[in-house]
């Protein structure tokens, strides 16, 4: 797990304990030719908060990240970090304030070892050699790469390179992390590990802006969500508030009709449900797996009860799409 090295390094920006907005994005706009990549986007990220920037491909997440990291100019709006407009400080000073994990999978020198890469970027960030070496070693340990630190990065797996990117972002012990699609192609355990590291930093007071298109990872992880679609903010709130945007009306049921044939179970289930909705077997499921679409005003509880009464046992029932996915599609498809 992450270890707090602030005291022995002391390179982070100033901190205070109560939540306060670390990043304030107000009406930020960006065009590429005629295309409007971002249209009046506003959001804020508090200290200690993980703020998910959610959106499908092409929503404008990476564009916003590039603006926030000073890699791209914006065409309107304002960005404040720690209450200071990023226009009011030289870029080199602004860039001390954050750690950044880029979305690309190539951001290291492949012929250099992991520790040499971190040492190099640590030196570029302004640390002296002794500090940079200490921090590089500590951060490698934090991300679980301590034992392969001397291996060339070219020999690292994709997941290891991603963890190395996390280590690099943490080198300066920043109070602000910009993270762009950190887990989009990691295996579940790799993704979990990265999320754990980031969560630990947030618990230590860092503000985290986490761009992702993966819905599954923000539940139980992100404190707040900004849903971006076609350059526009569609939603800002908590994950629970996002899920409350829609009523779940599609379920996957696992039914057991005993010795009855698949056709009989289907017929029995349809008659039991009646006007409460429609049910159809999933292709190739041999009468076990069904898809239920609830009708208006119907409840899943009444449907389950009706099926049980008709002699069809409901072995399992789950949302066909997660609530968060439904909300996401509801908010994004509305504008397609």
């Amino acid at each position: 797990m992450a270890v707090d090295h602030r005291d022995d390094v002391g390179v982070g920006v100033g901190r205070r304990s109560e939540p306060f907005p670390v990043v304030e994005v107000t009406d930020v706009a960006r065009r590429f030719g005629e295309a409007e990549a971002l249209r009046s986007v506003s959001l804020s990220v508090n200290a200690g908060e993980i703020h998910a920037l959610l959106g499908p491909n092409g929503a404008g997440k990476t564009t916003l990240m590039r603006i926030l990291t000073g890699l791209l100019e914006r065409h309107g709006g304002e960005v404040k970090v720690f209450g200071t407009s990023m226009d009011d400080v030289p870029l080199r000073d602004y860039r001390r304030a954050f750690g950044f994990i880029p979305s690309g999978d190539r951001s290291f020198y492949l012929r250099l070892s992991g520790i040499e890469n971190l040492l190099f970027f640590g030196r570029l960030s302004g640390m002296d050699k002794v500090r940079a070496r200490a921090r590089a070693a500590a951060c490698l340990e934090d991300v679980g790469l301590g034992d392969v630190g001397k291996k060339m990065v070219g020999l690292y797996s994709h997941g290891m390179q991603k963890r190395l990117a996390v280590a690099r972002a943490l080198l300066m012990d920043p109070s602000l992390l910009y993270i762009d699609e950190a887990t989009h192609d990691l295996d579940p355990s790799g993704a979990h590990r990265v999320r754990q590291l980031v969560r630990a930093r947030a618990q230590q007071g860092a503000a985290v802006l986490w761009a992702t298109q993966r819905l599954d990872e923000i539940r139980g992880f992100a404190d707040r969500v900004t849903l971006l679609h076609q350059g526009l903010v569609r939603f800002v709130g908590t994950v629970d508030e996002l899920m409350a945007m829609v009523t779940i009306d599609r379920y996957a049921l696992d039914l057991d009709g005993g010795p009855r044939s698949a056709a009989d179970v289907t017929e029995l289930a349809r008659s039991a449900i009646g006007e409460m909705g429609s049910i159809a077997p999933k292709a190739g499921s041999e009468g076990r797996h069904y898809e239920l679409a609830l009708g208006a005003g119907a409840s899943i509880g009444r449907v389950v009860w009706a099926l049980e009464q008709a002699g069809v046992q409901v072995r399992s029932c789950r949302e066909e799409r997660s609530g968060i996915e439904s909300a996401f599609l509801h908010l994004t498809e509305a504008t397609e």
């Binding site: 890699l71 100019e73 080199r92 690309g104 030196r123 570029l124 302004g126």
Partner: protein, 284 residues
Amino acid sequence: MSVTLPSTGRWDAFREDFAKAPAFLRRDLISLFSYRIAYLTDWINIVVQVFLFYFVSMLVPPDRLPTYGGEQVSYLEYVAVALTLTSFVQAGLGRLIAAIRNEQLMGTLESLMVAPMSPEMLQFGSMVYDLIYVPLRTAIFLILVSVLFGVQFNVAGLVPTSVIFVFFMPFMWGLGILSAAAVLTFKRGAGVVGIVGTVLTFTSGAYFPISYLPPWLQWVAEWNPITVAVEASRQALLATITWAEVGEAVALIVPFSIASLAAGVAAFRLAMRRERRRGTMSLY
């Protein structure tokens, strides 16, 4: 506790940036050392080059060449001094372009760009390795020529030659930065600056006396900073040169160096600003 963005003064920023140079050197040393065979081929090339010019020198009678200190010199002596300088020219022109292009291709350019440092440090950092390696390589080249073929260089001329090189390097460095700006802007646009480099080398008198050029090209050659540096270095290493003569050469070179460096730095800054505006920094 008040929470503010850190702020660095101009002098502190310069000092802090300069302290990053060893990090670039270490990166390049480790990276290049991992390609050991590249070193070997470089040295094989040097040896081959020495032999090539040794045999060419057999074809060129010394009386076709200028005299230095009243003495006739062999073609090998004549060209060896120029080769030391042209290796700086190639490094100055090529290294930064190669570095920027490599960073683009490896995907590390944006990682460097989000580091808190000035664009000038990126340029300087990319050159640090060559600033050490090229003089070393040049010295070994001269020793090799001297040992293998008994060519006598005036050892006392090394210091004046080094002084001339110090004032000459910013000229080539400026052209190199211009090329790097062209790479950032046009992605494969360094060819134009490459042509300028070729023309400058061609008219420099490095491989043949400029007296053989047509009169109008001779006029160009006389104003070519490479010609000035090459001729002063020949004078220093093959004969003797006074500090007054070094001063004259430096006085001719310095305005070109200042102009070239200023143009390069300005072009690079413009190119960076343009890339930030367009969002095409990492495209290649």
